[in-house]
């Protein structure tokens, strides 16, 4: 199955009555903010995932927009490679503004 089909939400595991697939839910609390991961739920299909997400995670106007993503579609770094994976940014202090010394009498910098 292609990635495009997966993104459409076509189940690649047999969906039986016992186990609806799992979705990760992201909620935008209000305009101007990013969607934030709030938890997961199970649903038979994409549409049900959205309505369940609304009922479960926004009962008190906690959101203006919801994303539901099949859990298995998420790629994540593994904790094992934690150090080497993030290492490239570790020794690049010059990426931070505090690396640069500017005399105190230079305004607005």
């Amino acid at each position: 199955m292609s990635a495009a089909e997966q993104a459409e939400g076509i189940p690649d595991v047999p969906v039986d009555a016992r186990g609806w697939p799992m979705y990760e839910i992201f909620v935008r609390a209000k305009r101007g903010l990013n969607h934030v991961h709030v938890g997961s739920l199970h649903a038979a299909d994409d549409r049900m995932a959205l309505t369940h997400a609304r009922d479960l995670y926004t009962r008190r106007n906690e959101g203006v927009s919801v994303w539901a993503v099949r859990s298995e579609s998420i790629v994540a770094s593994t904790p094992d490679e934690k150090d080497p994976f993030f290492e490239p940014s570790g020794d690049k202090v010059y990426r931070h503004p505090t690396f640069y010394e500017i005399p105190d009498d230079v305004p607005h910098i």
């Binding site: 799992m22 038979a44 299909d45 479960l56 009962r59």
Partner: protein, 336 residues
């Protein structure tokens, strides 16, 4: 079932005892010592994982079973306002159960399995929900006592060392305050009513007080797993400390409400700056937990029936999803 928040397979399974390299253990210990959170994909000792699965599952089951005692009053609450409030409250409890099942699943367990363990009576839930609700005042008393006790228990759990559990608790605690307040307000209203209503409130308080104190579990000197849970910072305070906090919080509320708490030993201790109170009958707690409470069978049977009665809905939804998916695949093929 795979999830981005799921545990790495290497450290799963109660039977196998994987090699726990000292370095991983050290990393884990340091994270706990620094008061940082353990996250799903981190290495963790098998005992830590097992303790969490048990605790979170029991907690989830309690929320789900907890809908029943009050749920019975939804159709009989005396006004549309009270019906709507109670409906929202019970719906919140369902939500709490689902937040917690979601947290449990990050530890590599399957939600359907947990439900099965509950309906087969293989996993426990809070003893308090095995008591009956014969009067409408019980709706108020549950909100005041049971949700109040839940707040005492759950606020410290917002700092629990396991990230997904702590985050679920933050969400839950935000909602519990409504539960407690609606209960107390209901009782206040009844206390302003007739003599019969006041008697009904007092009678309800008499029945619920001791079982509510039992919610905090056995006394510290008889609580085998407590110490380890506290060392892992899953739990932050002992059972007795939480019970004391609940008493200290509730006594002034009872005075304001105008009811008597049924404990002759209850009195302010100037020296300690806290209330002294009697000892709950912990043998009753033991009996209720082991299945001999007044409503244990009814509660589990009802959950089992609801699960069975819902089977056709789950099957139909799955069939619909499969049909939609295959229709979409055919259309895509035709378009290609």
């Amino acid at each position: 079932m795979a999830t981005a928040e799921q545990a790495p397979t290497g450290s799963r399974g109660p039977e196998e005892t994987p090699v726990e390299p000292a370095a991983l253990q050290r990393q884990f210990d340091e994270t706990i010592a620094r008061d940082q959170r353990i996250e799903p994909r981190d290495w963790m000792p098998e005992g830590y994982r097992r303790t969490l699965v048990r605790q979170i599952a029991q907690h989830a089951h309690s929320e789900i079973i907890g809908m029943q005692p009050e749920g019975d009053w939804i159709t009989r609450a005396p006004s549309l306002r009270r019906k709507a409030i109670l409906f929202a409250k019970v719906q919140d409890e369902a939500g709490h159960g689902l937040y917690l099942y979601s947290a449990a699943e990050t530890l590599g367990v399957d939600r359907a399995d947990l439900t099965e363990r509950l309906v087969e009576g293989r996993q426990k839930y809070s003893s308090i929900f095995n008591y009956p609700t014969p009067t409408y005042a019980d709706v108020g008393t549950i909100g005041w006592f049971v949700d109040g006790a839940a707040i005492c228990n759950q606020v410290p759990l917002c700092r629990s060392s396991y990230g997904p559990y702590a985050r679920a608790m933050v969400r839950i605690c935000k909602e519990e305050s409504f539960h407690q307040r609606q209960g107390y307000e209901l009782l206040l209203t009844m206390m302003r009513g007739t003599e019969a209503q006041r008697r009904m409130v007092q009678e309800s308080v008499d029945r619920w007080w001791w079982p509510s104190l039992m919610m905090f579990g056995p006394p510290d000197d008889n609580s085998p797993n407590s110490e380890r849970s506290m060392a892992w910072k899953i739990k932050r305070h002992s059972n007795d400390e939480l019970r004391q906090r609940f008493v200290d919080m509730t006594v002034p509320q009872a005075e304001r409400l105008g009811v008597t708490l049924p404990d002759p030993e209850l009195r302010w201790n100037e020296e300690r700056g806290r209330y002294d109170f009697g000892t709950p009958d912990f043998s009753e707690l033991k009996r209720v937990i082991s299945g001999e409470g007044p409503c244990n069978e009814e509660r589990v049977a009802r959950r089992r029936k609801a699960h069975q009665d819902g089977a056709w809905v789950r099957e139909a939804a799955a069939a619909h999803a499969a049909k939609q998916a295959s229709g979409r695949a055919t259309r895509q093929e035709a378009a290609a």
